[in-house]
């Protein structure tokens, strides 16, 4: 346990000494500005639109931060051959990986909490200025939404780490992770939209399962991040919008994270440095 603690501490130390704080400040500023502006554009539900846009900013900003941290803590290590030092200790390499994973997790989750708190305060402020017909749910529904966002982040961190330990260039981490997140987040809504809009594809009316089968295969390769986005329960304060199979959804996603991390450890142990 003490062994991994020093790794976590080391990871946090590297992150703090990189440009972490200025990036965090920019992300928080982006959150505040876009939330305040978005509320101005809504005629009847400013607090809902503000919360909605705020959650979107969190969903876009935190993966970006995670990618930068993984580049800093993993790719840079290989690039500058620091591993010559860190891998010489007589212990398993998995400590090194899991320690730094925990460090990124701590930073990402704290920022999620900070941004979530700021967003809640902003939404409360906007909601007090204009009483809506359907108020936002900033209590338990909001906490559940943030919890599901944390699970989504966990997937992003694991895939970024796997790419970092297997790739030789840091930019592959950026491109690979963004591509992965984009597809994992959009494939279920896209299937839904195609089903709702039969004009999109001509053959669709003849065979409504046309895309379900081929795109459904994706579900075996990628976690369903689109359904992890449960913000509607907070936007409209209606818990019925929570997917009824949420324990299964969470279980599947956590299993996927475990698989990615073990794969990362395996790849790192096999990797030959020269």
């Amino acid at each position: 346990m003490n062994l991994i603690k020093s790794d976590i501490y080391q990871g946090l130390n590297i992150a703090v000494h990189s440009r972490l704080f200025s990036i965090v400040l920019w992300l928080v500023a982006a959150l505040v500005i876009s939330v305040m502006l978005a509320a101005q554009f809504s005629a009847r539900q400013p607090a809902t639109v503000a919360l909605d846009i705020g959650i979107t900013v969190i969903h876009l900003a935190l993966p970006l931060l995670v990618i930068l941290l993984v580049q800093e803590l993993f790719s840079r290590e290989f690039e500058r051959k620091f591993f010559l030092n860190s891998f010489t200790y007589p212990r398993d390499r998995s400590y090194w990986l899991l320690g730094r994973f925990a460090a990124i997790l701590i930073i990402a989750f704290s920022l999620l909490l900070i941004m979530g708190l700021i967003l809640a305060l902003l939404s409360l402020n906007i909601a007090s200025a204009y009483p809506q017909a359907t108020p936002v749910g900033l209590g338990l529904p909001y906490l559940i939404t943030l919890g599901f966002t944390a699970i989504d982040l966990l997937v992003v961190i694991s895939i970024a780490i796997l790419l970092a330990v297997s790739a030789t260039t840091p930019s592959f981490v950026l491109i690979g992770t963004i591509g992965f997140v984009l597809i994992a987040r959009s494939y279920t809504p896209i299937i839904e939209l195609l089903r709702a809009n039969p004009y999109a594809v001509e053959q669709f009316s003849a065979d409504p399962r046309l895309y379900q089968d081929s795109l459904g295969l994706l579900a075996f390769l990628l976690p369903d991040l689109g359904r992890l986005d449960v913000r509607m329960i907070a936007l409209y304060d209606k818990m019925t919008f929570l997917p009824s199979d949420w324990p299964l959804l969470l279980g599947a996603t956590l299993a996927y994270v475990t698989a990615l991390l073990s794969l990362g450890v395996w790849v790192l142990n096999k990797r030959e440095f020269n």
Binding site: A38, F41, I53, L60, S186, L193, D229, T240
Partner: protein, 269 residues
């Protein structure tokens, strides 16, 4: 080659470029009045917005609201409101503004589909159901369907249930002056909003409906005075019941069919 040649050529070429840009009118401020013409399909939008359907819905709804007063933006608004309605059918601004701007702007079928989606997604909200029912009566004269929707609205709102049921009974008895009621509804919506562009948009629709009211009142006066059905709208001018036909600020106008005046529908390109 002299030393001044390269910088002079650069300057000259840049000047040429700026002249060409100015000639194209790219800096012309009037261009901003034009509505944005491109609406991408829902699935493509999703990829563009990082797989975030809520972001797509918000951006499209803001774009639609920003072009709310331009007359020639109708076709753009149509597609934008429909896109939001697919990306996030629960979006409150979208069904509210979409109903006011599309349904009362000559595109009632698109208005119906937006209200329909909103009614199913917002299962607690009485207003999409009420608007849907009212529009069924106003545009399609479908009283049974209108009453069914009003009953749904009544079940959703204990506070307004009595008013909705009362309205439903009056519909069945045929005692509703729907044009006056529609004007009142739009005026009330106008009172509730603080946005000047939205107020202007609602104003135009009120003026349009008032024009319809003038025509229908003139027809009623004609028929009681002369004891015969109006066969041509021009008769109202010839017999001195109207000085001129009313102007429609939306430039869609009115039409005379089945011996009554109606709002003209928007032709969709």
């Amino acid at each position: 080659m002299p030393r001044w040649f390269a910088p002079a050529l650069a300057l000259a070429a840049a000047a040429l470029f700026w002249v060409a840009v100015a000639l194209q009118g790219a800096l012309d401020i009037q261009r901003e009045e034009r509505p944005p013409a491109i609406i991408t399909a829902g699935p493509v939008q999703l990829l563009l917005y990082g797989g975030d359907r809520f972001l797509g819905a918000n951006i499209e709804s803001i774009r639609a609201a920003a072009s709310v007063t331009a007359n020639d933006a109708e076709n753009f608004r149509l597609r934008a409101h429909l896109a939001v309605s697919r990306l996030n059918p629960c979006h409150e601004d979208n069904y509210w503004i979409g109903n006011a701007s599309l349904t009362w702007g000559g595109a009632e079928e698109q208005g119906f589909s937006i209200l329909h989606n909103a009614m199913y997604c917002r299962y607690w909200d009485e207003w999409p159901a009420f608007f849907y029912g009212f529009n069924q009566q106003f545009f399609l004269h479908n009283v049974p369907e209108a009453r069914r929707m009003l009953e749904i609205a009544a079940q959703r709102s204990p506070a307004n249930a009595a008013a909705f049921r009362n309205f439903s009974i009056m519909l069945a008895a045929g005692e509703i002056d729907d044009v006056r009621l529609a004007i009142e509804m739009l005026l009330r919506e106008r009172e509730q909003t603080t946005d000047t562009k939205l107020r202007e948009m609602l104003n135009k629709r009120v003026v349009r409906l008032r024009g319809l009211l003038v025509l229908r009142d003139a027809q009623a006066a004609f028929e009681t005075r002369f004891g015969q059905r109006l066969s041509r709208p021009e008769e109202l001018l010839e017999r001195g019941l109207l000085e001129a036909f009313p102007d429609d600020p939306l430039r869609l106008g009115y039409e005379f069919r089945d011996q009554t005046f109606h709002l003209t529908k928007l032709t969709i390109q």
